[in-house]
C-alpha cells in the first residue's frame, strides 16, 4: 500500500487522459466494432483484435488503447444476443446465460431477459473497475499465493458445479461430465505428448478439439435443429410489450445477487491460468444455491441471466490483472492485446511487471476505459434490444440457414480445415442426442472446459509435491494443504452436497417425459462404448508417458462405473422413470419434420462443401433450402442467398480468411472467395 501516494495522482491523470473527446470517439468506435463482432456467435475478442492489429503500428498509444479496450470490453455484452435469442452461446463467457435466457425468449420475454442481462453486464463491468482500482496496487503478492495446488482446487471447485447442473438423474450428469472431460483429453497430452484417441494419421484429432466447436456443437446445433423441426418462430407467443423496463426492474430487485456475482467474476478472473472460462458457470451455480425458490431455474428464471451476466463482464476487468501485472495473458484475446500494445506509439508501454511502476496512469486509463466502454455498450444494446428481440418472432426456417452459415464460418476459424465442419456436425449430433435423452449438456461442457486445467494442474501439483516431500515431510504437507486449499476444499464439499440435493429441482434441459426403454438404453450403451474405448486407448500409453495416462484412465474408470450403475437402474426401473426421458416422445405432436430429414440438409451442406468448397455449396444449400423447406419463390431465395454470401464474404475478407476448400479446388485454381 506504499504506492497509495503515487496512485491518486495517477488516477487523476488517467481520468484526464480518458475524458477527451477524441479518446471518447475512438472508444465508441471500438465499442461498435466489438458489439458487431460479439453479436456473431463463435467470434469473439480474438477475431476483433486481429481485425484492429494492422492499424496499431505507431498509433498514438492512448487512442489505440481506447480502440482495443472498447472492442474487448463489450464482446461479453453483445454475445448475450445470441445466447438469449437463439440459445447459441455467443462466446465461452455466456454459456450459462443460455440456460435461463433462452427459455425466457421462448416465452416471449426476450426483451426483458436482454435488458436484465445488459444492466447486469454494465454493473459487473463497473464493479470490476472499482475493485481493480484499489486491488491492483496490492494484487501482486495475492496472485502469487495461488500456486498449483490452489489452481487445481479452483478447477475442482468449478467441476463441482456439475453437481447442480446434473439434471434430474444426478448420475447421468456425472457421466456426462466424465464424457466431457474425456473429450477434453483427446489429442496430445500436455505432459509427455502421448496421443489419446488419435494418431498422427489423424492430425486434426491430435491437436485436440477446440472450445468454439464443442460449444457450438453441443448447444447451438441441437437448438437450431429442434426449432427447425417445429418450423415456427423461436418465441411461442407474441412478445410482451415494454419488456426492457421489466428487465431493469428485475435487476434492481436482485442487485445484491449481481454484486456477489460481479465479485466472483472479478476474483476468478484475477487468477491466471483459468482463463475465466468457468466464471459464468460458477456464478450460475452460486445463483441457484443462494436462491430460495428454485423451481423455475432452467425454465426461464431471470436470476439465471443476471448472475452469469454480472460475472462475465467483471471477469474481463479481473483478467487485466495477470495481463497487466505479470504480462501473462489470461485469455487468447489478452495475448493479442499484449502484442498489440507493443506496437503502439514508439513502444513505450510495455505490458508486464514494470507496468505499475512506470505506467500506472496508463494502467488506470485501461481499467476505466473498460468501465466506460461497458456503459456505452450497454446503452447501445438496451436501445437495440427491443428491435433485435423481434427476431424471435420470425419464422425459424428463414433464420436457420443464415445461422448455419455463421456458425459454420465461426467453427472453420478454429483450424481452417474442412474437418472443423465435420467435427461441428459430429459434436452437434452428440448434442442432439444428449438433449433428446436429457443428459446434461452444461455438465458435459464444464467437463470439457476444465479437462485440460484439471489434468495439467493435477500432474504438476503431484510432481512438485513429490519434490517437496523429498526435502521433508512437513514441507510437502505445507505445500499441498495451504490455508487457501483447505478453504477451497470445504467450499467445494459444500457445493457438491448442496448441489446434488438440489439438482432434482433444476433441470437444465427442461421437463421431459419418458418414452420407451430402447432408445435411451442404446444411447447409454453408445456412451459406455466410447468411455471403454477411451479407457483402453489410454491404457496403451507406455510407462514413460504415464503422466498422460493417469487422468483419462481415472476419468474413464469413474464414467464406466457410473454407466454400469445407470444400466442396472434402467433394467430395474419401469419405463415411466426419469431415467428414460425422451424428448422425441414429448415433442412428437409439435415436431412437423423428422430429425433425420432435417439433419440431412446440413449433412448435405457438408458433403457439397467437400466437393465444391464452402461458397458454392452454400449457394446451392441456401437457394434449395429456402425454396424447398421454407416454401419461398426462387427469386426470394436467390436474393436471400446472395445477401448471405456477400455478408459472409465481407466478414472473411475483413478477417483475411479463406473458406473450406473442396475437391473442386484441388483440381482447378479458382479466384477468392471460391478458392
Amino acid at each position: 500500500m506504499d504506492m497509495l501516494p503515487t496512485a491518486i495522482p495517477a488516477l487523476s491523470d488517467a481520468f484526464g487522459m480518458i475524458l477527451q473527446p477524441i479518446v471518447f470517439g475512438y472508444l465508441a468506435l471500438g465499442v461498435c466494432m466489438g458489439l458487431a463482432i460479439g453479436v456473431l456467435p463463435g467470434l469473439g475478442g480474438i477475431a476483433g483484435l486481429s481485425l484492429l492489429l494492422p492499424f496499431m503500428y505507431g498509433m498514438e498509444p492512448l487512442l489505440g488503447l481506447a480502440l482495443m479496450v472498447g472492442m474487448v470490453a463489450v464482446v461479453p455484452t453483445s454475445d448475450t444476443f445470441a445466447s438469449v435469442l437463439m440459445g447459441i452461446p455467443g462466446s465461452s463467457a455466456s454459456q450459462a446465460t443460455v440456460l435461463d435466457g433462452f427459455p425466457m425468449a421462448k416465452r416471449g420475454r426476450a426483451a426483458r431477459a436482454l435488458s436484465a442481462a445488459f444492466v447486469s453486464s454494465l454493473f459487473g463491468g463497473i464493479v470490476g473497475a472499482v475493485f481493480l482500482t484499489i486491488f491492483i496496487l496490492a494484487a501482486r503478492p495475492i496472485v502469487l499465493l495461488f500456486r498449483t495446488p490452489e489452481l487445481l482446487m479452483i478447477t475442482v471447485f468449478g467441476l463441482s458445479m456439475v453437481g447442480i447442473l446434473a439434471g434430474r438423474v444426478a448420475l447421468k450428469g456425472i457421466v456426462a461430465a466424465c464424457l466431457g472431460l474425456l473429450f477434453g483429453t483427446i489429442g496430445e497430452g500436455a505432459s509427455s505428448g502421448a496421443l489419446r484417441m488419435s494418431t498422427y494419421d489423424t492430425p486434426y484429432l491430435a491437436d485436440g478439439l477446440k472450445l468454439v466447436i464443442v460449444g457450438l456443437g453441443i448447444f447451438a446445433v441441437p437448438e437450431i435443429i429442434a426449432l427447425l423441426r417445429k418450423d415456427k418462430a423461436i418465441s411461442d407467443r407474441a412478445p410482451l410489450g415494454g419488456g426492457w423496463a421489466d428487465g431493469i426492474r428485475d435487476w434492481w430487485v436482485n442487485k445484491w445477487l449481481s454484486v456477489r456475482c460481479s465479485l466472483i467474476g472479478v476474483m476468478v478472473g484475477v487468477i491466471p491460468g483459468l482463463g475465466g472460462s468457468v466464471v459464468d458457470w460458477i456464478a450460475y451455480g452460486h445463483t441457484v444455491q443462494t436462491a430460495r425458490e428454485k423451481s423455475e431455474f432452467g425454465k426461464g428464471d431471470v436470476r439465471g441471466v443476471i448472475g452469469p451476466e454480472s460475472s462475465n463482464n467483471a471477469k474481463e476487468g479481473g483478467g487485466l490483472v495477470p495481463t497487466l501485472l505479470f504480462g501473462i495473458p489470461g485469455s487468447g484475446s489478452m495475448a493479442i492485446f499484449i502484442s498489440a500494445v507493443a506496437l503502439l506509439g514508439s513502444g513505450q508501454i510495455e505490458i508486464g511487471p514494470s507496468m505499475l511502476k512506470f505506467n500506472l496512469d496508463f494502467t488506470y486509463a485501461i481499467v476505466w476505459l473498460l468501465a466506460l466502454a461497458n456503459v456505452i455498450g450497454t446503452l447501445i444494446c438496451i436501445t437495440a434490444s427491443g428491435g433485435i428481440a423481434k427476431l424471435t418472432s420470425i419464422r425459424f426456417a428463414l433464420l436457420a440457414p443464415l445461422l448455419f452459415t455463421i456458425i459454420s464460418f465461426a467453427a472453420f476459424q478454429s483450424r481452417q480445415d474442412l474437418m472443423d465442419l465435420v467435427a461441428l456436425f459430429g459434436i452437434g449430433l452428440l448434442g442432439i442426442m444428449m438433449r433428446r435423452f436429457d443428459w446434461s449438456r452444461p455438465a458435459f461442457l464444464i467437463g470439457f472446459v476444465l479437462s485440460d486445467p484439471a489434468e495439467t494442474y493435477a500432474n504438476q501439483a503431484v510432481q512438485i509435491a513429490n519434490s517437496r516431500f523429498r526435502k521433508g515431510f512437513n514441507e510437502g504437507i505445507e505445500y499441498i494443504f495451504s490455508p487457501i486449499v483447505i478453504v477451497l476444499i470445504l467450499v467445494t464439499l459444500a457445493a457438491i452436497v448442496v448441489g446434488l440435493r438440489q439438482a432434482k429441482n433444476i433441470s437444465p434441459e427442461g421437463n421431459i417425459q419418458s418414452g420407451s426403454k430402447r432408445a435411451p438404453l442404446i444411447f447409454l450403451l453408445a456412451i459406455l462404448g466410447y468411455i471403454v474405448a477411451a479407457f483402453w486407448n489410454a491404457s496403451l500409453i507406455p510407462d514413460f508417458s504415464s503422466a498422460d495416462r493417469v487422468f483419462p484412465r481415472f476419468v474413464a474408470f469413474v464414467g464406466i462405473i457410473g454407466s454400469i450403475i445407470l444400466f442396472v437402474q434402467m433394467m430395474m426401473n419401469p419405463e415411466a422413470h426419469a431415467l428414460f426421458s425422451d424428448r422425441e416422445k414429448q415433442d412428437s405432436d409439435s415436431n412437423g419434420y423428422g430429425l433425420w430429414p432435417t439433419l440431412a440438409w446440413f449433412a448435405g451442406l457438408l458433403a457439397l462443401t467437400s466437393l465444391l468448397g464452402f461458397i458454392l455449396a452454400l449457394a446451392a444449400f441456401l437457394v434449395s433450402f429456402i425454396v424447398i423447406r421454407a416454401g419461398k419463390s426462387i427469386s426470394f431465395a436467390a436474393v436471400y442467398a446472395a445477401a448471405a454470401i456477400v455478408f459472409i464474404c465481407m466478414l472473411a475478407y475483413l478477417l483475411n480468411r479463406d473458406f473450406p476448400a473442396g475437391l473442386l479446388q484441388s483440381l482447378v485454381d479458382l479466384p477468392w472467395p471460391l478458392k
Binding site: R147, G193, Y200, I328, P329, I336, K357, S467
Partner: protein
C-alpha cells in the same frame, strides 16, 4: 485419396512448368513490382504467440519497403506444433511473390529431430531474413549466492524444479545445458508459455528458469531489481565465424560456455557439447526466418532481400527493434543463408545424441 494426390501432383507439375516459363520471360528485369497486390505472410502459429509478435512488427515495415507498397497481411495457420502450416507451405510453388512464410525454432526442431509429421524440406525454400534471439538462465537469490561462492558444483545436490513446455521444444537447450553442469533438474511439463514458467518461479514452485531475451528484459529484470531473481548465464550469441561469444544484449553476463568451462565434468568439446551447440544454433541465433516458396526466381529473392535490408537501414530501426525484438542480428542475403545452413544442417552425430538423450532421459520416442 491417391487419385486426388496424383491429380494434385500433376497440377503442381503444370504450375511449376508455368512458373518456370514465366520466370524465363520475366528474366532480365530488376526485381518484381508488387503494386496493388496483397502479400500473405503465413505464420504457422496462433495469433497469440511470439511469432505473431515478430510478424506483426515486421509486416507494416515490409509493406513500406517493398516496391509498389503492397499490403502485407499476416495469416495464422496453427496446428500440429507448426508442422501443419509448414507442410502447407511446402506444397506451394512460387507464383508472383505474394506468399511468404515465417518459421520458428519450433518449426526447426521437429525437422531436425525427424518428427514423423514433418513433410517439409528447408532446402527447397528461399530464405530472405533470419532473426536471432538469445536466452538467459536465472536462479533464486539463495541458490545464486551459493553459485557465486562455489560455482555450479555447489548446487549439484539441489532438487531443481523447472516449468517446461516440453523436452522436444526449445526447452531442450536449457535442459541439456543444466544437465551438462551436473544439475538435477526435474522439468514440470504442461505449461502453456515461458511466461507461465516465470510465474511458477515467482510463486516459488520452480527454482530455476530461463527466458528468451525480450521476455527476460520485460519480465525478469524487474525481479532482478527487486532482488528475487539473479541472472546466472546467457546462452551466448554467434560471431561471424560461428563461435559462441557473449550476448550483445547482456555483455556483462557469462555465457553458458564460460560457465561450463569452469565446471568440473562439463566439457566444451565432444559429442555432447557439439549436440548442445547445434541445437542452440538452431533454436536461438537463427530462431525466426522468412522464406519465399520453392521455385522463387532470383529477382523475387533479391526484391525481398533488398526490402528487408531497407527496413534494417531505417534510421529508427535499432531503436524500435531493440524494444520489440531485443538487440539481435537481423540477417539478410548470404548471412541469412549461412544462418539457415547452421540452423537446419545439424551433424548426424549431434542429432543422434539428442534423439538418444531424449529417449533415455524423457522417454520420448521419435519416429
Amino acid at each position: 485419396m491417391s487419385i486426388v494426390n496424383s491429380t494434385r501432383r500433376i497440377a503442381i507439375v503444370c504450375a511449376a512448368a508455368a512458373a518456370s516459363f514465366a520466370t524465363e520471360t520475366a528474366a532480365g528485369g530488376h526485381g518484381i513490382d508488387l503494386e496493388g497486390k496483397t502479400v500473405e505472410w503465413i505464420i504457422p502459429f496462433s495469433e497469440t504467440g511470439g511469432s505473431a509478435k515478430w510478424a506483426n512488427f515486421y509486416a507494416p515495415l515490409l509493406s513500406e519497403a517493398l516496391p509498389g507498397n503492397p499490403t502485407v497481411v499476416v495469416k495464422f495457420m496453427p496446428g500440429a506444433g507448426s508442422t501443419k502450416g509448414a507442410n502447407f507451405f511446402q506444397e506451394q510453388n512460387y507464383e508472383d511473390g505474394t506468399l511468404i512464410f515465417g518459421s520458428s525454432g519450433s518449426t526447426q526442431f521437429p525437422y531436425l529431430l525427424g518428427d514423423p509429421r514433418v513433410k517439409y524440406e528447408y532446402s527447397d525454400w528461399n530464405v530472405v531474413l533470419a532473426s536471432g534471439t538469445g536466452g538467459v538462465a536465472y536462479l533464486p537469490p539463495d541458490l545464486a549466492a551459493e553459485v557465486a561462492k562455489g560455482g555450479a558444483s555447489a548446487i549439484a545436490g539441489e532438487d531443481f524444479i523447472y516449468g517446461s513446455q516440453g523436452a522436444t521444444r526449445l526447452d531442450l537447450v536449457p535442459l541439456l545445458a543444466w544437465e551438462m553442469l551436473g544439475l538435477n533438474v526435474e522439468p514440470v511439463f504442461g505449461i502453456k508459455g515461458r511466461g507461465d514458467g516465470r510465474l511458477m518461479f515467482e510463486r516459488g514452485e520452480a527454482n530455476i528458469d530461463y527466458q528468451t531475451s525480450s521476455s527476460f528484459l520485460g519480465g525478469v529484470v524487474p525481479l532482478v531489481e527487486a532482488g528475487t531473481a539473479f541472472p546466472w548465464f546467457s546462452f551466448g550469441a554467434l560471431d561471424g565465424d560461428g563461435n559462441i561469444v557473449r550476448d550483445p544484449t547482456f555483455p556483462e553476463m557469462p555465457t553458458f560456455k564460460e560457465v561450463c568451462e569452469e565446471t568440473d565434468g562439463c566439457e566444451t568439446t565432444g559429442r555432447r557439447w557439439e549436440a548442445w551447440k547445434a541445437f542452440f544454433v538452431a533454436g536461438f541465433p537463427a530462431q525466426k526466418m522468412v522464406f519465399l516458396p520453392n521455385g522463387a526466381p532470383e529477382e523475387a529473392i533479391k526484391t525481398y532481400t533488398e526490402a528487408f535490408e531497407a527496413v534494417k537501414s531505417r534510421a529508427d530501426f535499432s531503436e524500435i527493434s531493440a524494444k520489440r525484438l531485443g538487440k539481435y542480428l537481423q540477417l539478410t542475403g548470404s548471412e541469412a543463408q549461412g544462418a539457415l545452413a547452421s540452423a537446419t544442417q545439424v551433424p548426424a552425430a549431434a542429432k543422434e545424441f539428442v534423439v538418444n538423450w531424449l529417449n533415455e532421459r524423457y522417454g520420448v520416442a521419435l519416429n
